[in-house]
Each structure stands twice: as C-alpha cells, then as structure tokens.
C-alpha cells in the first residue's frame, strides 16, 4: 500500500467541477428516540471524492445510506442528481439507478454466479439486452482484475475477491455516484490492498465517490475532502493534507491520535 500512497497525488480542489450532485440540507434522522444524524448540511460536487471517518456509532454509515434511501430521513432534504428523495418510490428507484453502493459485508447474491451478480440489475432494471450486459460485466470484471472468476459462485472466492466483484456489480449499472460503506473493514489484512487498489483506479476515472473508511492512507491519496463525524454531526471537514496535519477541533485531534497511534 505504502509505495503507492507515498507518491501523494494530492488531488486539488481546482480540478473539480462546481456542479453539485448531492445536496443535503438541514437533514435530521432518528432511530426511535436516538438522534442519529443532526442537522447535516453537505454538498458534494460532480467528480468529488469524499472520505468520511469517525468513531463507530457516529452516524457515518447512516449518512451515506440515506443518500440511496436505504435509510429514511425525517427532516431536511436530500437531492441526488437533481432528484429529491421523498416517499415517492419512482424517485427513489431512479436515484438508486444512478447511485452504486458497496457494503462492508459485500452482500453478493450467493445463489448467482459472479457474472450473474453483475448482469442481474442491468438486465432487470436498465432492461439492457443480456448479451450486452455480459460484455459490460466482463469489462468491469477485467477492471477489478478477476475476469477468470466469472463463472464461479461468490462462496468460492476470497473476501477481497468478493468485494471486488461487489464493486464491479455496482459499476455495471454505470452509476454516476459510488457509495462505499467501510469496504475494507471485513477483510483480512492481506486483502485490503487489492480492494483499495481497485478503488484508487476507480478514482482515477473521475467517479464521484463517498467513502466511509478508516483507511487514512487511502484518504490522503485520493480524497478531495475528508469529513470527520462524531455524535451524528459533521465536526470537521477539510482537504486531506490540512485535515491530517492541522486538525482544528479537539475531538478530531483525539480521534486522529487514536487511529494513527500505531
């Protein structure tokens, strides 16, 4: 991991477009009595790569799960690619078509082959002809470097391979935004790199990415912005260099000292 990360591409804000693709305004969410997201304001621009970090229970996963409506917010507004997320199922579906998601536990479909995992949604949701989706799927499987596993079942792959399939599966829908919910947290240490490499490659294509992760090396290398969350709030956000070298709030300093200590 280290050689690649040390070359620090340090993405600058200047290469970003000023077209907002996710707009979250005054968003609040509760789980029962528990106020899990408090007054979230967040605008993400097209092509921007945002890393969200914070202690467990701080609401970072819930935040990105609100963006494709896996969780429902109760106050405020979320507008994704000019579509507002409301109870309207049609709007939710059209947002989900444009937003890909990668989960901590991969969530591949174990009864389908790797290829079928990738072609399922394009066939049924985008109504793309099967032959064409298979071509697209093989293209993405090649990009995540496992085309030779296409006919296997997920249960026959290693964790790292499964997560790469999950990334390919999401990409096959040709989404405009990719959400990553702790994509490397469930992996054995020796498999983390292969998944991060794929994500770095994806970043190079200019994909808009929101990544919940504790991989600070990854944040340094590809993120335009790092967001630190605690207690359901956005505590601090900055470009990575500043964020790591010069954290402002005490809570951020404490968090960074804890995760970077060893």
């Amino acid at each position: 991991m280290s050689e690649k990360i040390n070359e620090v591409r340090a993405p600058s804000a200047s290469e970003l477009s000023d077209e907002p693709v996710i707009q979250i305004n005054g968003m609040n969410k509760w789980f029962g009595q528990f106020h899990v997201l408090r007054d979230i304001d967040l605008t993400v621009y097209r092509g921007e790569r945002v890393v969200i970090c914070g202690p467990s229970g701080s609401g970072k996963s819930t935040l990105i799960r609100c963006i494709n409506r896996l969780e429902e917010h109760q106050q405020g507004s979320i507008i994704v690619d000019e579509i507002e997320l409301t109870d309207d199922l049609k709007q939710i579906d059209s947002v989900r078509r444009e937003v890909g998601m990668v989960f901590q536990h991969f969530n591949l479909f174990p009864h389908l082959t790797v290829l079928e995992n990738c072609t399922l949604a394009p066939i049924w949701v985008r109504k793309t002809p099967k032959a064409e989706t298979e071509e697209i799927a093989m293209e993405y499987l090649t990009r995540v470097k496992i085309p030779e596993q296409a006919e296997k079942y997920p249960g026959q792959l290693s964790g790292g391979q499964q997560q790469r399939v999950a990334i390919a599966r999401a990409l096959c829908m040709r989404p405009k935004i990719m959400l990553f919910d702790e994509p490397t947290s469930a992996l054995d240490p020796e498999m983390i790199k292969e998944v991060l490499d794929v994500m770095v490659d994806l970043a190079d294509t200019g994909m808009t990415m929101l990544v919940v992760t504790h991989e600070m090396g990854f944040a340094r290398q590809v993120a335009h912005r790092v967001i630190f969350m605690d207690d359901g709030q956005i505590v601090e956000q900055n470009e990575p260099k500043e964020f790591f070298s010069n954290p402002q709030s005490d809570r951020t300093k404490l968090f960074l000292s804890q995760i970077l200590a060893h």
Partner: protein
C-alpha cells in the same frame, strides 16, 4: 529478549518440508469403518451386537411370511386356507379398486391419461435439464387443473363420473397434488404478506395463518363437509371433494406460510439492501434474490409439510371419501377377503412409502444441487 531466544525450542526454522502421508490403517478401509461406525465404544459395541441379534430374530420369520410361505394368486381367502404366510391374492384381485376406487372400469383410461399428462407436466418443474421450468410451473397450477377436471370428471362428450365414484390411490393423489401445488404459492404470498409493511395486508395474513393453524385438520374437514352446507344459500351445493380440497389447501398453506417465513427471516438483511441499492423493485428482489435463497433454506421444511400433507389425506375417510386407506379397510370387510387386514394395510403402507420416500429423496437431491458453497 536476547536471553529468552537462547532457550531451546523457542526459536526454530524448519528446513525439511513434510510431505503428505497416508492416514493410519486403523482409520480407513473396512476395519476403520467398522471401528468408527459399529464398535467405537463399549456401549456402541453392545448396541451393535444387540441390533444384529434383533435382526436375526425378526428378519427370517418376516421373509418367510412375506415371500416363502405366502400365496400370490387366488379368488378368495379360501385359496389361502391352511397357509402360514401372507395371502397376497387380495392385491391383484382388488387392484382396480385400490387404484381407482369405484371409477367405472371402462373410463379408467381417463385417469391413466391424466396421470401421464400430470407426470409430463411435472418433469420440467422438477428437473432443470428440461427447459421451460417457469412456464411448466405456471401451467401446472393454472391450466392443468382444468384439463384434469375435464378428463376425470367429464365434459365435451366424455361421460360424467361423479366424484363420489373417485377413490383409492387416485383420490389420494388428487387430494395431495392439488393441496401441494396450491399451498406452496399461497403460502409464499401469505409469508410475504405477513412481513409486509402495509398494516392491512399484514393483519389479514396473520389472521388467516393463525386461524387455520389453530384448528385441527379433522375439524376443518368436518366443518367443510357438514357445517358449510348449513350456511350456504339454498340450492348451492358445493361438491364434497371440492370442499375437502379447499379445506386441505387452506390448512396446508397456513403451515407453508410459516415455513417460508422461517426462510425469509434466515436471510441476512444485506441481501435485501443490496437488491434495493441496485434499483430492483419489491417484486423483482423477491423473485430474483430473496425467494430463491429463502426457499432453498427451507426445502427440508417444505418437503416435511408436503409429506405430512400427503399422509393426512387419509383423514378424508372420516367424511366418507373413499381414499386409499378407506378402500383397503372396506376391501377386507368383504366376506371373500375377511381377515386379510395385514396384507391390505401393508400394501397401502408400501404405496404411501413409495410416494413419501420419493419426495424425501428428491428434496435431498435438490438441496445438493442448489448448494453453491456459501457459508
């Protein structure tokens, strides 16, 4: 640190790679098998010897009775006089009734044809080697019952055979297959409904399931047979068999719903989330992602319900339908065949066994085939 490294065995580097070696002889082969399975402990050794002794005392007389001293042909129990063994003559003599009940002999080809067509329709549903499984499954539930009705009951010039003449294995199979084929889709819908977020649908499904599960099957049959006509409007007379069929299907679909719900609950939440995140709608994710996995998990439970259902069809004899069991029972009250209960019931039991055991084996095969090696 440096001191501890000097202690022998705490630091080592292997220089010779150990190749695979065969396991010790006592754990493989015939001797190994015997040791592991029959004589693994003193208690097991005693139990093994005891079992062999039991088999030794029971098997020879049984074989004697069934095969060696038995009579296979004859026209009445008179032909078995003085014979120690079984009097199987009753089976070929009464075979027609065992299989068809009182279905007129001249029309029995219709039952046979229906059975053959049913098997032809069932094949692609059960096997994946024949294409068109989905179509065959829809056909067998939606279209085939009409064909079967026309053929067996009669229409379009085929003489009508009233259902009170249906009987024997035919009736048992009609009851079992209708209840099985309809209770599975109905049970799936009920299970989905019970997990629905829509309160009205959920409440209706819960009420339906709990109501039918709380009533004994015998009561259901009695109600269907004796109570329903009391409440039905004047002149409306449901067919007796039809009432039993509906009762059976409702009853078993409630059980099926709970079996399926078990499978739905066993699936990790992430499967549904992944389907949603990809943009699949509710019915797509149920059909493509959730149900294939949930049903696979509960194959043993589903087949368990099917087998139970198959055997429970014997209960219709209490409302006067001549199913396989009642036919057997009445055949031995015939003066010609008095006293041959053993033979008749053993034959019936063997028929039940063939069908139930086949279902059991099929489910094992299906489980193995669908196992894609995930956790």
């Amino acid at each position: 640190m440096s001191e501890t490294t000097n202690i022998p065995n705490r630091v080592s580097v292997r220089e010779v790679h150990i190749p695979q070696a065969p396991p010790p002889l006592s754990t493989v082969g015939v001797i190994g098998w015997l040791r592991q399975n029959l004589f693994s402990s003193p208690l097991n050794a005693v139990l093994t010897i005891l079992s062999f002794y039991l088999l030794y005392t029971v098997l020879p007389p049984l074989i004697d009775w069934v095969f060696l001293t038995s009579v296979w042909t004859g026209d009445s129990n008179q032909d078995c006089k003085g014979i120690e063994g079984a009097c199987w003559a009753i089976i070929p003599n009464r075979f027609g009734q065992f299989i068809y009940g009182f279905y007129p002999e001249a029309e029995r080809w219709r039952v046979n044809l229906t059975f053959v067509l049913f098997c032809l329709n069932l094949l692609p549903v059960l096997s994946d080697r024949i294409p068109g499984r989905a179509y065959a499954a829809v056909f067998i539930v939606a279209i085939f019952p009409i064909i079967a009705y026309v053929l067996m009951y009669g229409a379009f010039g085929l003489p009508i055979v009233p259902t009170n003449q249906w009987g024997g294995l035919t009736l048992t199979l009609v009851l079992a297959s209708v209840a099985i084929l309809f209770s599975l889709p109905l049970g799936i819908l009920l299970a989905l409904g019970r997990r629905s977020e829509m309160p009205i649908i959920r409440t209706i499904c819960i009420a339906f399931i709990e109501l039918w599960r709380a009533v004994p099957l015998i009561t259901v049959l009695f109600m269907a047979s004796f109570m329903l006509p009391l409440f039905a409007p004047e002149g409306v007379n449901f067919n007796e068999l039809m009432r039993a069929l509906i009762g059976f299907t409702m009853f078993s679909s409630a059980y099926m719903a709970e079996v399926v719900r078990g499978g739905l609950q066993a699936l990790p939440k992430g499967q549904n989330e992944a389907a949603q995140a990809l943009g699949l709608n509710y019915w797509q994710s149920m059909r493509l992602i959730i149900l294939p996995q949930a049903l696979k998990i509960v194959i043993p439970g589903i087949v368990n319900t099917f087998i139970g259902l198959f055997k429970d069809t014997a209960l219709v004899s209490i409302i006067g339908l001549f199913d396989l069991l009642l036919v057997a029972k009445s055949s031995v009250t015939d003066v010609k065949w008095l006293g041959l209960e053993h033979e008749a019931y053993i034959f019936v039991a063997a028929l039940y066994f063939v069908f139930c055991f086949s279902m059991s084996r099929y489910s094992l095969w299906l489980e193995r085939k669908l196992d894609t090696g995930n956790r």
